[in-house]
């Protein structure tokens, strides 16, 4: 592959590339307009974690997150992408600070939206306090940016899903798009099993994990606004759609979100399994949902659940 090809990826390439399989850098390169990405604090700056070497653990020059700006269908965007293959995409001090900085810049400029490509298991245990602080700072920065009029869109479809503090941050975003492979939750399957027992949640039962935390279920209960097929191009199109359709942010949005969540709890609080929720939602042949191909699922989801544009 020549340098020119590397710099000018085609739509075909984005269509052929699995978002799940791609590295964070490949996702960013193929998601944005060709050649438009400019990185802040790139790996050449070697802003590595100050903590990992204390544990004799390998560092990564970008600390597992890429931040920068570029263009999406000609319009400027800020973008952050976590690398799920480095320490499970976990938030550490530097990793978190890069995202906070990006969100604060967006707040200052007011008009440029932010895309966050989550791929994270949560806080990096080796820098727990710094990581937890980073989560809190990011959540605040997301809300402040949104208050200033910035749309913050989360895209979730990586290997590590979006867990722990990542799940909390995702909950603060203006809108989310998720693929089947993407999982969104706070406590991970193993954590639940450890604390509540295998009868409560069998973390080895992957079908259970996916129908509880996976993309299809999140879309069907309104936890995510759009469902994307597992290609970078599908996520690009989802981001464009969400940027266009997502409404502003204010106290009315929060009130609407609060009542949406209360309503959800009331309707489904007694359900034992995701399939019970789908049945209650009127999904025909609910048991077949996990096996549905993406296009058929999107059709079904659009029928079953209109996106609540006023909430979030």
């Amino acid at each position: 592959m020549s340098i020119a090809e590397l710099e000018k990826p085609s739509v075909e390439q984005a269509r052929a590339t699995s978002f799940y399989e791609a590295s964070a850098r490949a996702r960013v390169r193929l998601l944005l307009d060709p050649g438009s990405f400019v990185e802040f604090i790139g790996p050449e700056k070697r802003e590595v974690s100050p903590h990992l070497k204390l544990f004799d653990l390998p560092e990564q020059f970008d600390d597992g997150i890429i931040v920068g700006h570029g263009r999406l269908a000609g319009s400027p965007v800020f973008i952050a992408a976590q690398e799920g293959r480095f320490m499970g995409g976990a938030f550490g001090e530097v990793h978190g600070a890069k995202l906070v900085g990006l969100l604060r810049a967006a707040k200052e400029l007011k008009s440029i939206p932010v895309l966050i490509l989550f791929d994270t298991g949560g806080v990096r245990l080796q820098e727990a306090n710094a990581g937890e602080l980073a989560i809190a700072e990011i959540m605040r920065a997301v809300i402040e940016a949104r208050t200033a009029g910035v749309k913050v869109i989360g895209l979730i479809g990586g290997r590590s899903g979006c867990y722990g503090g990542g799940g909390l941050i995702a909950g603060c975003c203006s809108a989310l798009a998720v693929s089947e492979q993407g999982r969104i939750a706070v406590s991970g399957p193993e954590v639940i099993e450890t604390n509540r027992g295998v009868e409560e949640f069998d973390s080895r039962d992957r079908a259970l994990v996916w129908r509880t935390m996976g993309g299809k279920h999140r879309r069907l209960i309104g936890g995510a606004d759009l469902f994307a097929d597992d290609t970078v191009q599908a996520f690009r199109e989802a981001a464009l759609e969400l940027l266009e359709t997502t409404a502003g942010f204010g106290i009315d949005t929060l009130n609407a979100e609060q009542s949406r969540l209360e309503d959800r709890l009331q309707r489904f609080g007694a359900c034992r399994d995701a399939v019970d929720i789908w049945v209650a939602e009127g999904v025909p042949d609910a048991g077949s949902v996990p096996a549905l191909p993406a296009d058929q699922f999107i059709e079904l989801a659009d029928k079953v659940r209109r996106i609540a544009r006023d909430a979030r």
Binding site: D205, R206, L208
Partner: protein, 561 residues
Amino acid sequence: MLTSRNAEAAGRMATTWQHQREARDARLEAGTRLARGKIVEARDATRLMEAVIRPGDRVCLEGDNQKQADLLSRALLAVDLAKVKDLHMVQSGVVLPEHLDLFDRGVAKKLDYAYSGPQSSRIAQMLFGGKIELGAIHTYLELFARYFIDLTPQVALIAAVSADREGNLYTGPNTEDTPTVVEATAFKDGIVIAQVNEVVDKVPRVDIPADRVHFIVEADKPFFVEPLFTRDPAAITEGQILTAMLAIKGIYAPYSVRRLNHGIGFSTAAIELLLPTYAEKLGLKGKIASHFALNPHPALIPAIESGWVQQIHSFGSEVGMDDYIRARSDIYFTGPDGSLRSNRAFCQTAGLYACDMFIGSTLQIDLQGNSSTVTASRIAGFGGAPNMGADARGRRHPSEPWLQAGREADPDGSALLRRGRKLVVQIGETFGEKNVPLFVEKLDALALAEKLKLELAPVMIYGDDVTHIVTEEGVANLLMCRDANEREQAIRGVAGYTDVGRNRDRKMVQQLRERGVIRRPEDLGIDPLDADRSMLAARSIKDLVRWSGGLYAPPSQFRNW
């Protein structure tokens, strides 16, 4: 006087020659009191054990590497120690916790076995603690052979899918060890007790004829089967893909290996998934990998669907593959009912005598090429790899790969008298899981043997059987090494940045490379940067389901949808 004394002796002999049969009849009679016909209620299973098993008996509790007579193992564990104790367990798989609980409780005392995968850590502790008197750790064929010579069970506790009222058994696709165990027990006056998932009017096919089965216990739930041979393509790394490419281009192609066995592991799964893509591009279709002794690996589905594979005989089955196998009877061995018929003893024999190559992974390789999966705290046993990964000295039929390997090992010998060699390939990354080095100066198995005072260290594959080692650094051809020093340097030469690799004699490794004993990726025309997951024919379990046309039904723990 003389005549009457002779008659007396003859009479005495007539009774003593049938001692075992009389003992069996006595056991049968005691057991029959608990049965209606041959059928015993599950709640009476422990009483049945107490009726038919005597202290010190040799008992085969069917624990294979996949299916488990789990109800019978719980029943045996609950026996009254006044009636049953100090048993000598002779079983291929020590897999369930109950298998070891028997020794903790004193129900059993002595153990001869082959494989202990999931219990590898606890069995090590119990051996160290003296809780188990160890006979030996066997390969499958070895243990099966001893069932017929000096380890014949007095009682066999086996598992089947269904039985009719006569006692004919249908084992389902996981026949595994059952015919062998029953053969040895039933024809030497032993008692066979089968747990079945259901009693039916007519079994789908007869895997075990009724006259070899004495008691049937209907279980409340199906016997446990472990999906041991499913590897999720999503977990295959680029390093494993590179080693797979090296194996295909560096070994499969030059030797034209058509008849083979694959070990379990992600590197061999990667090979299976590269056949319809990478190997197809190399023009190898029809020339390699067409006949297998292999469990029904889901990872092989894309190669089968692409027309690569002609025939597979299996040791056991694999959870979720039943419908696929039924629909592909051209490939698999199936019964009149349509489902797979597996047989571990026959498939092991097939792998030993009729395959030209074994390729598999291991945990440790030493400087002589000996390998072992034993570590300081784990004794996983052997299972099938040593028979698959051994040169069969009794082999007499020629084949091109076998002859070619023989030529490389002994280029100056007489062609008509020269033995061929089976290709025995060890494949792995120089640093395995958790960055543990694959190459070591001394196997942990040796330290373990010293600690347990064993007469033999548990070596999985002996160095003199290994012909090739493949790592991401290249392929080492040990057939072409002429002495122990060359062998050691060839191994060091592909050991990467492990201590073993760093202590190589650079000059000698360079010479070995010039002779083609070591071949680097670039020597084979492989660019390591081409090792990309996009080359895999399937990158997820769901892709495998799609390839199978929806016939493969993966168990829940392998689904991410």
